[in-house]
Subunit: 189 residues, 2 copies
DNA sequence: TGACAAATGGAGATGACCTCCATATTTTCC
DNA sequence: GGAAAATATGGAGGTCATCTCCATTTGTCA
């Protein structure tokens, strides 16, 4: 996973085009209506090129997801540096809901692909989970959050939010989940 | 959705065989490794018969899911009739985790299919959501649970649990999610 | 029992996915 | 700068799962 070989110039260009186009199509929610071959044409490359760069739909999604996760992790670090721990955690989780709401198609597409039992996308989540772990650890140190529950549970709840994007009352319910999690995380008693 | 036409005897028999076999295959987790046509043969019917009864994999899953939901709803009613409201709610949610754990393959299969943006399975969840709504309403009446969060949020959290079945530490994290939800549901302050 | 309706099953059309390789582009080395 | 080696391209076509269609079988009702 460490050293990606130095890609040739045209290869790198095509790869970037594919990822950019994929993000676009994901966000529009049209990904599953599209033959994979047609996606290649849409991006202006041959099918062979598409398959060499991304052997499966999941591989493509993983690449898109990476960018997403990186941005979220940056936000987490920024919040942690500028706010008291408990507030940083709350702001991050509330912000996740905003973010998911703003990229509904993307979230839905990623959630769908994540469900296919490849587990490929789960690896991409590790960085995100680490960010949540850090936020929580800081809050525990401040005594604002219980220490007997770890980030995995929060990730599960977030996953539930992301996967349920077709519920009619999604936004309010998503906010409620975060409320429950945050209130549940305050030490009981 | 109301009046299912009276099925002919052989049709009903085949339908039942298909559902039974599907549950079996789901539970073994082999559903996606299997050509749909081969599933027909496995159940001892022709492909035409399979497709007439269940036009898609999702339709088949929905039928299996119905049975599952019905059983869970019965359990909810039983708990509600025999325990104080708050305990009934807690027992039900804890029991959901047990149930999912005991039918890992089934849960994973249903979660995967549910993610495919058909929303077909979501309808099947309505009865389950109603059961949770009832349990929560009773607990609110007892003053044991806050009244500003409704069942939808709990459903989301449960969905997250069911969808994340490949996490290495699944069981502990699932229990933690329930803990957070239950503690979050106690009135804050 | 006969006649009508409902259901069956599997052969074959359809179309998505992916491989393969002759050609084109980039890089390296003198 | 140019030739050889290495790397990447694209799209034609093979493969295989999905789904349709209808001649035949099975069940129902009077």
């Amino acid at each position: 996973m460490a050293a990606d070989k130095p890609l040739r110039a045209d290869a790198r260009r095509n790869r970037d085009v594919l990822i950019a186009k994929a993000r676009e199509v994901f966000d529009a929610g049209d990904f599953f209506d599209l033959r994979f071959d047609d996606f290649a044409r849409l991006a202006g490359v041959g099918t062979g090129t598409l398959y060499r760069h991304f052997p499966t739909r999941e591989a493509l999604a993983e690449a898109v997801y990476h960018g997403e996760v990186a941005a979220l992790c940056d936000r987490a670090r920024h919040l942690q540096a500028t706010l008291p721990a408990a507030e940083a955690l709350a702001a991050f989780l509330r912000g996740m809901v905003d973010h998911i709401a703003a990229h509904e198609g993307l979230a839905r597409t990623l959630a769908t692909l994540m469900a296919d039992r490849s587990g490929a996308l789960a690896e991409g989540s590790l960085a995100l989970e680490q960010a949540v772990t850090d936020l929580m650890a800081a809050a525990v140190r401040d005594g604002a959050v219980r220490d007997d529950v770890d980030a995995g549970a929060v990730m599960m709840a977030l996953h539930g939010i992301g996967a349920a994007h077709d519920r009619p009352n999604w936004r309010a319910e998503a906010d409620d989940v975060i409320t429950l999690v945050l209130d549940g995380l305050r030490r009981p008693l």
